[in-house]
Symmetry: C2
Subunit: 118 residues, 2 copies
């Protein structure tokens, strides 16, 4: 695989490597929203939202469209939604694994208490 492709992928991942930015992308699932609408939903500072939006633009994750006073954002490509959906399934699978492990552990040592790691 080409280095350019790895570079590209890591750019995308960097763009999504923040919970607020993931929230933004998820709010945009249903269609475009203005910066103001996003800020309202996110409940964060305007400047902060604007910075996260700048990151998402720079990493090619969203596109913006200016209409008069406002700027409307949308997801550049549906592929990114698919990615998030896959991870949601992954998350629940992981969760199940963890829960089952804990159940097993509980069965094997019913009187023991959980021990903190590290």
């Amino acid at each position: 695989m080409s280095d350019a492709l790895r570079q590209f992928k890591s750019q995308i991942f960097q763009g999504l490597a923040n919970p607020t930015r993931i929230a933004i992308v998820e709010f945009l699932r249903e269609g475009e929203l203005s910066a103001g609408q996003l800020i309202e939903k996110l409940e964060i500072e305007q400047a902060n939202a604007s910075q996260h939006l700048a990151v998402l633009r720079a990493k090619q994750i969203v596109v913006s469209r200016k209409v008069g006073n406002q700027v409307y954002y949308s997801i550049r490509d549906h592929a990114l939604i698919e990615v998030l959906d896959i991870l949601r399934r992954y998350f629940y699978a992981q969760l199940n694994t963890t829960v089952n492990m804990l159940k097993e552990a509980a069965k094997e040592a019913p009187k023991s208490r959980l021990v903190t790691r590290r």
Copy 2:
């Protein structure tokens, strides 16, 4: 969507937000490899590879299995491969878009030269 899920996703993305780590995951597509085999393929310092592997472990992206002297790594869940595949398709789609834009631009202004941005 829950905050925990967003947190989880951003962890995964952080884990993959580096070209070397993407390379590792891709080498592991076909099955498990020892740390040494990975280092050979990656052509990077042993310590550096080991650090990236530690990140991938911490972010729950790979699992390791010790056999005598060596440590074998594999991808924890196939979902992550799917994610990378989706991004590959996205990458080429983006590439086509860019190429087409450049073609259009060339048609419209055949004598102009490309201007550097920023």
